[in-house]
Symmetry: C2
C-alpha cells in the first residue's frame, strides 16, 4: 500500500513536470529550432512524404507580406530527369539531385490593384517594391519548418543572378513578371551537421 502511494505520487510528479514543461515549452522549442537551423548539403536516399512537403509550403505561405500582396508561388520538383534543363549550369546540381525534393520559390514582382488614391478605380499593374522582403521571410519559414521536421535543407540564392534564373525561367515557362527567387533542396540529412553560433553582442546598439 505504502509503495503504491509512493508510486502514485512519483507518477503524479512526473506528469506535473511534463505538463509544466509543455506549458513553458513554446518559446524554448521555437528558439531551439531557430538556433538549430543550418544549411544541410548532403542527404540520404530517403524520400520525404508529400504531407511534410505541404507543411513546409504551409509555413512559407504564412510569411508576412507587405500590403498583404503574397507574391509567392512554388514549384516542387521530384522528377530528376528534368533537373539538367531546369538547373542547367547551376553549381548546386549535385546537391539538388541528391535531395528528395527541390522547391523553387518564385515571386511575382508586380501587383495588380486599384490605385491607392482611388480604391474604387480600375486595377492597374505596377511594380511591387517589397516583393523581395516577403520572399526572404517565406524562404526562412520553409527552412525553419524543415528543421522542425528533422529534415535538412539549404537556401541557394537564385535572384538576382541571371545565369541561375534564366534556365529556370525557360524550363518552367515563367511569365515575364515572375522570377525564380530561391531554390531549396530538402531531404533527410546524411551526416551530423551543426548550426553556427552567430550571436554577437557587438552588433547591438541601445538608445
Amino acid at each position: 500500500m505504502k509503495k503504491t502511494i509512493l508510486f502514485a505520487a512519483a507518477a503524479l510528479l512526473l506528469a506535473a513536470s511534463c505538463c509544466h514543461k509543455n506549458a513553458t515549452t513554446t518559446a524554448d522549442a521555437v528558439m531551439a529550432n531557430i538556433l538549430s537551423r543550418k544549411s544541410v548539403r548532403s542527404y540520404t536516399a530517403d524520400s520525404v512524404p508529400a504531407a511534410v512537403i505541404d507543411n513546409l509550403l504551409r509555413a512559407a505561405m504564412a510569411a508576412p507580406s507587405g500590403m498583404d500582396i503574397r507574391p509567392w508561388s512554388f514549384v516542387v520538383l521530384t522528377d530528376k530527369s528534368q533537373y539538367d534543363s531546369v538547373f542547367e549550369g547551376n553549381f548546386n546540381m549535385r546537391m539538388f539531385k541528391e535531395s528528395a525534393a527541390v522547391i523553387v520559390l518564385c515571386a511575382d514582382t508586380t501587383v495588380t490593384r486599384p490605385p491607392r488614391d482611388n480604391p474604387e478605380g480600375a486595377a492597374v499593374t505596377m511594380p511591387n517594391p517589397i516583393w523581395r522582403d516577403d520572399m526572404g521571410a517565406a524562404t526562412e519559414n520553409l527552412l525553419l519548418a524543415a528543421e522542425a521536421h528533422g529534415l535538412g535543407a539549404c537556401w541557394t540564392a537564385c535572384y538576382p543572378f541571371a545565369d541561375r534564373m534564366d534556365p529556370i525561367r525557360r524550363a518552367l515557362q515563367l511569365p515575364a513578371n515572375v522570377v525564380p527567387y530561391s531554390v531549396v533542396p530538402v531531404g533527410v540529412p546524411a551526416g551530423d551537421n551543426q548550426p553556427k553560433d552567430k550571436w554577437d553582442p557587438s552588433r547591438i546598439r541601445r538608445l
Copy 2:
C-alpha cells in the same frame, strides 16, 4: 487500495501522454508558432525584459546569410524622447511610441573581403548582392521569436523608401554603406489579434 492503484495508473497514463507530447512536439510547436505569427499594432503599457529582447536579437542573428557575410546590426530604442527625430514623418509613429521597444534592423550593403579569385590577396570592398535576402530572414526570425514569447510585433518596411530611411540614417548617423532595412516595434499585445490563414494550394505546381 484498488482506488490507489487506479489513481497511480491514471497518473502514469497522464505522464506518458505528456512525455509523448513532448517527444513529438518540436514540429507541432514550431509549425503552430509560424502559423500564429501576426502583425500586432497595439500594445499594453507593459515593458519587455531586456533578456527577452536579447532572445529576439539572438534569433535574428541566427538567420541564414549568403556567403556567411552577416550584414546585420541592430539598434534597440526605448527612449521615446528620441522617436520624433529618428522616425520623423513615419506613419507608424503612434505604434512605435505605444510599443515597449522599437528595433531597427540595419544592413551593410557592402562586403570587405579578399577577392574570390585571390583568397590570399588584400581585402577589397564590393557590393553584397544578397544582403536584402539575409535581412528578410533575420526580420522574420525576430518576429517568430516575439510570437513565441507571447509578444506582439509588426514588420514595418523601411528600405527602399527614402522618406522613411533618411531621418533614421541622419539621427543614428549610419555610415553611407549601412541602410535601415526594417523597423519592428515590440510589446505586449493589447487585444486579441488573430493570424491570417494564407494557405493556398493553387500556388503550388508539382513536377
